[in-house]
Symmetry: C2
Subunit: 346 residues, 2 copies
């Protein structure tokens, strides 16, 4: 099969690899209908995470079940499925608590289970895959829906997690730090969760437009202290009821806490890269920090019906499409911020 | 009047100071029935916070209103009142949100409003003081009740805040890190908030006994890694549903996160002194950090009825009593951990 392999900083290749097969009774093999490149895939691409040896990459996919192990009963060959970016059993103490990302036998797709490929081996398939009824390999979801489903594999679930962790409620004033795919989905999530006002911090016109399309009521284009000041002015000096930190850098973390009102919570989902929560401000102003790697599997039963009903269109963050074989170009475009998120089609 | 003044590291004196008077229309002056020494008073006493110049100290008191400014209508002369350790207007955006500690015109008692004194000037008296009906200067609360009320001035409200911030729910397994007065009140709070199991981390026999009296179901005497291991064994390797961090040191913070299960929250109320939240573990395991300086005023309407009904007896943490004039001895005893918390009576 064709698969995407990262060899080193900036070195993404489309290669032929052995077709994955069912190895464990709990495995499935999924033929990919659509996959994509994630902001976090850019960390190793940019050399900010080391690449010790070439390995498969990609952790998002929608596809059709091609084979299942003997123990897999929740999905069947031929089912169209969405996979969250982590696999999980669905039955351990952490899965049952809704923290599927801490599954005792779980893990993140990538490497040997890289999803930017024609076929993906899915461990713990019964606990991981969610069936989308009414479609098949012969009658796959139409393109718009496919994009929406694919967004649920990671970024929409991650934005949703940020909003949940930040405690967004009916009537909340919410600030979203970060205008990547996750931040944009965070805007959408905040609106769905009842926010009355959503301030998107974004300095790119195209992303500002998408944020507004997703329901942002205000856009702050400034960064750093100027951006923080602008948000405080928008909120009568009070700050936001809930802040979604969707970047993970030191600056984004600082901004998130600076605009969080006393008693509020910063929901963080950006992989931390140098950010450090300001403990003294947190203590003095009772600002909490919650979130982390998103247990997307927990949210799929909520998100898929919204997508299937057409209530939300998170797939709009996938603003470009390339053949799977051109994965390297997809990385280049995202690294250059020419695209928010690139869909790859086998 | 007699008042307690800290001059320098280890130098606490009982001195004669001018009687405080109403300075602002929103002030009251309260004649103290009982005050006490707080664990946080020991920070300057031990030199861990600097003492630049001599100043009044103490932030907890129960007393009788002696005078009120023209704008004070919520309490009257002769009322027996409990004061939280911070004063607040009760009307600003932060007070209305229940975060009285961030009041726009508020502050912490101490210095010129030090409470280890015969009289205390209370700014923002209407928003700060809570009346206890049925008592007066002539018929003050009996000693046991007085201790319970005094505990609500800080430690019981702070323990309550830790439990609330940590998200204690019906049936929760809770770990309380710290066996000072706040930690012990945290045990009591967790039980009241529905915890099914409360593990008190304490290595002092007398405090272990008090923790059990307050409802702790388990006691872990070990500290550091051994203590963390013991908690994990008690919880089948899972960790706690909620953790109350009631110390504020680097070790206590580390332990709190080490015993917190994925998806849980560490509620922290110990003034941070060197602790640093482990951001990577927080992210990977979705462990939140919430809490801070406790908005005790928000909890008094809940706590006072419990105390008046005899449902809780947080005053048990006040395990010693001395005349106000012997404040220095009270500090010495608490510093030496001979007492959990010393009541001072004018």
């Amino acid at each position: 099969m064709r698969a995407t392999v990262i060899h080193a900083l900036g070195d993404i290749r489309s290669e032929t690899r052995p077709d994955p097969v069912v190895q464990e009774p709990t495995d499935a093999v999924v033929r990919v209908l659509a996959t994509c490149v994630c902001g976090s895939d850019l960390w190793p691409y940019r050399g900010e995470n080391p690449v010790d040896e070439p390995h498969g990459i990609g952790h998002e996919h929608v596809g059709v079940v091609e084979a299942v192990g003997a123990a897999v009963t929740d999905v069947r060959v031929g089912d169209v499925v969405v996979a969250p970016f982590t696999f999980s059993c669905g039955r351990c103490v952490h899965c049952l608590a809704g923290v599927h990302t801490s599954c005792l036998v779980g893990g993140v797709f990538g490497g040997e289970t890289g999803c930017q490929a024609e076929l993906v081996r899915v461990p713990q398939a019964g606990g991981t895959l969610v069936r989308v009824d009414g479609f098949s390999a012969a009658a796959p979801p139409p393109d718009d829906l496919l994009r929406d489903l694919l967004a649920c594999s990671d970024v929409m679930g991650t934005g949703w997690h940020a909003a949940r962790a930040a405690g967004v409620r009916e009537g909340s004033t919410v600030v979203v730090v970060g205008d990547g795919a996750v931040g944009l989905c965070g805007v959408l999530a905040a609106v769905q969760q009842g926010a009355a006002r959503v301030v998107a911090m974004s300095r790119h016109a195209d992303r500002q437009a998408l944020a507004r399309r997703f329901g942002a009521t205000d856009v702050v284009a400034e960064r750093g202290e100027a951006g923080e000041q602008a948000v405080l002015e928008l909120t009568d000096g009070v700050g936001a009821d809930a802040v979604l930190e969707c970047v993970g850098t030191e600056q984004s973390m600082r901004t998130a806490f600076a605009v969080a009102r006393p008693g509020s919570t910063v929901g963080f989902v950006g992989v931390p890269h140098g950010g450090r929560p300001p403990l003294s401000r947190m203590f003095r102003q009772n600002i909490g920090l919650a979130g982390g790697i998103a247990p997307v599997r927990a949210y799929l039963p909520t998100l898929l019906p919204l997508v299937l009903a057409g209530s939300i269109h998170p797939g709009a963050v996938l603003d470009a499409e390339l053949p799977l074989a051109e994965a390297a170009e997809a990385y280049r475009r995202m690294d250059a911020r020419e695209s928010v998120k690139v869909l790859l089609r086998p």
